[in-house]
């Protein structure tokens, strides 16, 4: 067993990595996996959750344990299903859902204590410092790559960036390339928002980038999480860095999310937004209307169950969206 | 301003002393609905489903704030034995009162679910309630005992008997009251809010003394019956009721619908206790043009919208059957525009 599974950007990878295992973010989204998950969940469960369950059922032996989180109702309950269908030890981490730092701080202390005991390892100062340096270094490299993606003209596609981020999220840090050739694009620049982008979502990104360039995003599975800046390389420093990272849309109030995204949209000079929303992902479904009001840019909402059966329909909608970008008057497309 | 509330929600707020998005606008669109729906009047008042459909058509076109189930006030008297003619293109006309020869004549105690045209009303209420009752109040106009009495006897005879043999009239009115209550019971259980209409108790027809001693007593009793159910009771009296204004407080009606009355006087005398309804002149509505109607109605609404207990924009009496649609629309538009409350 070489992996420690986890589900959310609020769980510090540095702490997971201190176990000696590779932190593997559970970000699977693929129709056959989803169908396997559906054997244990209703059809109206989140496709990401269903796919992750399908993946776990097939790959149980690779996971020493899974650290689930209370990021959303389904994510939290998913761990129960994992527990009832596999022998993988599980732990549920309380995600911050408001501005209450104390709960999060106590959760991190408990997580550390649990992992130390479970893996018979002491997470001393030097180990944590080493992990912080390692991951911080990686994130700096990713920020630099992202900088090229965000540049005008954009020099790296999100298709490539996604591949690189997959390495990061799967703990395959050594595979993150140092040299990435330019992919300069002058296509219309758009910003991606919405539900997590899964490891298997490449066709979706490629489809968008056939005619557009995604030059920024705030999705789990892409750049969300690389903006965590550790000032103090200790457990206490990790707590602060992770708690005060750019706000999750699930936090209440979620104004921090909007402020961050608004700033990013301006910084990337995006002229439109694509919101990738998974079926039954209530949160993003609820927020679309507000995004439209707040960002004053054309928004294309693309619903998905990861099946990609609607790719041709998506293509038509993206083409129409490009027309809208050319003559923007506002509104969801 | 775009409506935020449904008519049902709007009316609901009014009766609990809250300001809705705007004043409810409820012109008394009764048989005029037949014109709007393009059906003969006779079909309207003899077929419940037709009546309801005509009302719904009018509601869909006008977007006013209530469905009014009504044709004329002889309804209960007819069920009690008075005979009416049914002209094709006009409302029923009293042919032979049940007590034509005097108080000793026989009257029928009707079955409110079966007798004459009472079931027509009930069917209309049920149909309308089923179709649009979630968004709009269904109002059923119920003639008060005094008005029904005037259809059981020849009207002048009824008035003379009221003075000469008050005990005999009282027995008749008590009987009518019981029948009316039973009909109200059916109306309520079909889904409509009863509105008491007493056009023949108008100051244009009777003296304030007769109103106070006879008509009002039975209005009060009927209102008491409806208050037991905790209904907000609307009382409508046509014509000039200026001399009766202060009596209206005694009826314990919750809303009063007025016709030929100086509304500023009514505002002064009644609005601290009763919600006001009215009172656009129906002749103007029939004969004037949309621009003029819009202007005049708008001025009326601006004067009355801040009545303390609330105000419903309405016509003083029924919208005349042949009123041009655009005139009614102009009236409703003015009511909605000028009656807006929310900022």
């Amino acid at each position: 067993m070489e992996l420690i599974g986890y589900t959310c950007s609020y769980i510090p990878v540095e702490i997971l990595s201190a176990t000696g295992l590779k932190p593997y973010r559970l970000l699977h989204g693929e129709i056959t996996l989803s169908q396997q998950g559906e054997q244990h969940l209703r059809v109206d469960a989140c496709p990401l959750i269903k796919s992750n369950l399908g993946f776990i059922l097939k790959n149980q032996k690779n996971f020493a344990c899974i650290i689930g989180s209370t990021g959303c109702d389904m994510a939290r309950r998913w761990i129960e299903i994992v527990k009832s269908t596999t022998n993988i030890p599980v732990y549920i981490f309380n995600n911050p859902r408001t501005d209450n730092f104390e709960i999060y701080s106590a959760e991190i202390d408990e997580l550390v204590s649990e992992l130390e005991q479970f893996f018979h390892r002491r997470f001393d100062k030097s180990l944590i410092q080493k992990e912080c340096e390692k991951w911080e270094g990686i994130r700096q490299r990713l920020i630099a790559i992202d900088g090229r993606r965000r540049a005008n003209p954009s020099a790296i596609s999100t298709t490539t960036f996604h591949k690189i981020m997959n390495f990061y999220h799967q703990g395959r840090l050594e595979e993150i390339p140092y040299q990435i050739p330019d992919e300069i694009s002058y296509k219309p620049r758009i910003f991606l928002l919405g539900s997590p982008v899964s490891y298997e979502s490449a066709p979706f990104i490629e489809l968008i980038e056939q005619r557009l360039r995604i030059c920024g995003d705030f999705n789990c599975g892409l750049s969300r999480g690389i903006h965590i800046k550790i000032l103090e390389k200790s457990i206490e420093g990790l707590k602060k860095a992770y708690f005060y990272q750019p706000g999750c849309i699930f936090k209440r109030p979620n104004i921090g999310y909007y402020e961050w995204v608004e700033k990013e949209i301006k910084a990337t000079k995006s002229t439109g937004i694509i919101a990738f929303v998974l079926d039954y992902c209530d949160n993003f479904d609820f927020e679309i209307h507000r995004m439209e009001k707040r960002f004053s840019l054309p928004i294309l909402k693309l619903k998905s169950d990861f099946s990609f059966q609607n790719m041709s329909q998506m293509k038509i909608r993206i083409d129409a969206f490009i027309d809208v970008l050319a003559s923007y008057r506002g509104g969801i497309v | 301003m775009k409506d935020i509330l449904t008519p049902r929600e709007r009316f609901g707020m009014l009766v609990i002393d809250e300001k809705p998005d705007r004043c409810p606008v409820i012109p008394l669109i009764t048989s005029h609905a037949a014109t709007v729906a393009g059906i003969k009047l006779k079909r309207y008042y003899t077929n419940g489903e037709r009546m309801a459909k005509a009302q719904i058509t009018a509601f869909e076109i006008y977007q006013h704030d209530a469905i009014s189930i009504f044709s004329e006030v002889g309804l209960i008297a007819e069920a009690m034995g008075s005979e009416f003619n049914y002209p094709d293109d006009d409302l029923p006309v009293l042919k032979k009162p049940a007590l034509l020869n005097g108080l000793h004549d026989k009257i029928i105690i009707p079955n409110p679910r079966k007798s004459k045209r009472l079931p027509v009303y009930l069917e209309a209420i049920k149909y309308a309630y089923r179709s649009v009752g979630d968004i709009v109040p269904i109002l059923a106009y119920i003639p008060a005992p005094f008005t029904t009495g005037m259809h059981l006897l020849p009207p002048e005879k009824f008035l003379i008997e009221t003075l000469k043999r008050p005990d005999g009239i009282k027995i008749i009115l008590d009987t009518i009251l019981d029948v009316t209550k039973e009909f109200c019971f059916e109306v309520i259980n079909a889904g409509a809010l009863p509105i008491i209409v007493d056009p023949l108790a108008s100051g244009s027809v009777i003296s304030p003394a007769i109103y106070k001693d006879v008509a009002m007593i039975y209005e009060q009793k009927l209102i008491d019956y409806l208050h037991r159910f905790d209904f907000d009771v609307i009382l409508h009296i046509c014509g000039d009721t200026s001399p009766l204004l202060e009596y209206f407080l005694q009826t314990s009606a919750d809303l009063i619908s007025l016709d030929r009355v100086n509304m500023l006087k009514a505002l002064d005398k009644l609005s601290h206790k009763i919600r006001l309804i009215g009172n656009f002149d129906t002749t103007t509505l029939l004969l004037s043009n949309p621009e003029e109607i819009h202007k005049t109605a708008g001025m009326m609404v601006e004067q009355l919208k801040f009545a303390r207990k609330g105000y419903i924009v309405s016509t003083g009496c029924e919208v005349p059957i042949k009123t041009p649609r655009e005139n009614v629309m102009a009236f409703i538009k003015a009511g909605k525009e000028k009656g807006w409350y929310w900022v």
Partner: protein, 468 residues
């Protein structure tokens, strides 16, 4: 409490109720009033009154024929008016959202403060047989495949279902996500929201190592949890207390002690009614009324004292019926458990018509049913009571009582009502089916208002057949 007339228990329709209502004297009608106001506070009316004002489903519902039930329905259906009247007479109206159980106790401990749960409006589209609120919510951008509590967004927009709250306290975290989104949407509409966090109740099996006994605690209901959870909740309750202090200018912790006592009295009565219903050979009260009583524990439908009297009256009614061996259903009605409340009240009627009786329920409000400890510090007592909450822990814990009843053969089947797209339903249902597989289980997606079809009736009949 004196009753006005005697009838043998049965379920009756709206028209029969109207007839029966005629026997009630005017004096009796005027005796029952909320906020003790004789002008507008009288609430004793037959179902027909509320039907005339738009509650269309009442036309086809069947009700308990007791005076006590009439009083209850009259009181409950007057809630919208009551909230507006509260504001008109200078009370402070506080919207408590999302926690379902504890925050109203804090609110009620402040003078002239009336709490209410906007989420209870989820029944309104069904009672009205109207999609108006749901359609309006959609127009405001709320997705359709979410819990019916989305009607709340429309209600905040329309301002016709409750007055503008003086304070909105929204609890989020280990709770329903759909509703968390609803609350966020309300804030986006310009309402100021005070957020409180509900942490997850982590049971020992969700630790990697066996937790040390000294870090754990156990509720009287048997839920094991990390002690620190209490501290987290207490801290949140202190913040809420401060917000209420700021609003009212009053800070009197003794009132909290008194409120807890009152709340406990209500909860004892309700648990007594539930227990009698469970144990009696014949159901003493219909499932629909029982559900309304159970949910009254949340906040007393905005006049707690009056509600307490009503429940006390019903308690004596049920006790009397049980003692006499009489009830509202047939003796051979099949006992079932009900998991997750139905947004459509008609379903509760229908289940009884098909030959079932509901003997035990898990309506996601376990936290509002338990006794609050009176011999410890009050905020801690509230935290310890809330920790029993249905939705903040695992599904297995949530249904363990039902499992026990299945083992004891007290229930012969389980009915689960879901909402398509509602987050916890999607995740829990299969697991519940698996955990309770010893008895027949029927899982129904509650359709939109006026949407119960023959297909659902047929499924219910098949469910009954399977249990027989």
């Amino acid at each position: 409490m004196k009753r006005t007339y005697k009838v043998s228990p049965k379920k009756i329709g709206l028209r029969t109720w109207s007839k029966q209502f005629e026997k009630i004297s005017t004096e009796t009608i005027s005796r029952y009033r909320y906020y003790n106001n004789g002008e507008w506070g009288i609430y004793l009316s037959p179902p027909a009154t509320f039907m005339v004002y738009g509650m269309r489903e009442l036309k086809r519902l069947k009700f308990d024929n007791s005076f006590e039930a009439l009083r209850m329905w009259g009181f409950v259906f007057n809630e919208t008016e009551r909230l507006f009247r509260a504001k008109q007479i200078g009370k402070k109206v506080i919207a408590t959202m999302g926690d379902l159980g504890v925050v109203p106790i804090l609110v009620m401990s402040f003078p002239e403060c009336v709490p209410f749960y906007p989420e209870c409006l989820w029944w309104t589209p069904f009672f009205k047989e109207s999609t108006e609120l749901l359609d309006t919510a959609s127009k405001l951008g709320v997705p359709e495949a979410t819990c019916f509590s989305r009607a709340v967004v429309a209600a905040f927009h329309k301002k016709a279902y409750f007055p503008k709250p003086d304070l909105i306290i929204a609890s989020t975290g280990a709770s329903c996500d759909d509703y968390s989104c609803v609350m966020q949407t309300v804030e986006d509409m310009g309402y100021e929201v005070f957020w409180a966090e509900i942490p997850y109740r982590k049971s020992p099996e969700f630790f990697l190592n066996k937790p040390k006994p000294q870090i754990l605690e156990k509720t009287k209901e048997g839920f094991v949890y990390p002690k620190i959870l209490e501290e987290h909740l207490i801290r949140e309750y202190k913040r809420i207390w401060q917000a209420l202090f700021k609003l009212t200018g009053v800070n009197n912790p003794h009132r909290l002690v008194d409120t807890i006592k009152k709340i406990n009295t209500l909860r004892r009565l309700v648990m007594g009614i539930k227990r009698m219903n469970e144990e009696a050979p014949i159901a003493p009260i219909p499932a629909l009324e029982l559900m309304v009583i159970e949910f009254g524990n949340l906040y007393g439908y905005a006049d707690f004292d009056e509600w307490l009297e009503i429940v006390e009256m019903i308690y004596h009614l049920v006790k009397d019926r049980v003692a006499k061996g009489i009830g509202v259903l047939k003796k051979d009605a099949i006992p079932i458990a009900w998991v997750t409340p139905s947004a459509d009240p008609y379903l509760l009627n229908l289940v009884e018509e098909c030959g079932c009786r509901v003997v035990t329920t898990e309506y996601v409000i376990n936290q509002a049913l338990v006794q609050i400890e009176e011999d410890i510090e009050p905020l801690r007592a509230l935290a310890r009571a809330f920790i029993n909450a249905s939705l903040i822990g695992s599904t297995e814990e949530r249904i363990k009582k039902i499992k026990e009843k299945i083992v004891k053969k007290q229930v012969k089947g389980v009915l689960i009502t879901n909402m398509l797209g509602a987050s916890h339903c999607a995740m829990e249902t299969r697991l519940i089916e698996k955990l309770l597989s010893d008895v027949p289980i029927l899982s129904i997606d509650v359709p939109a208002p006026f949407g119960i079809t023959q297909q659902i009736k047929t499924r219910l009949e098949a469910f009954v057949e399977a249990m027989r």
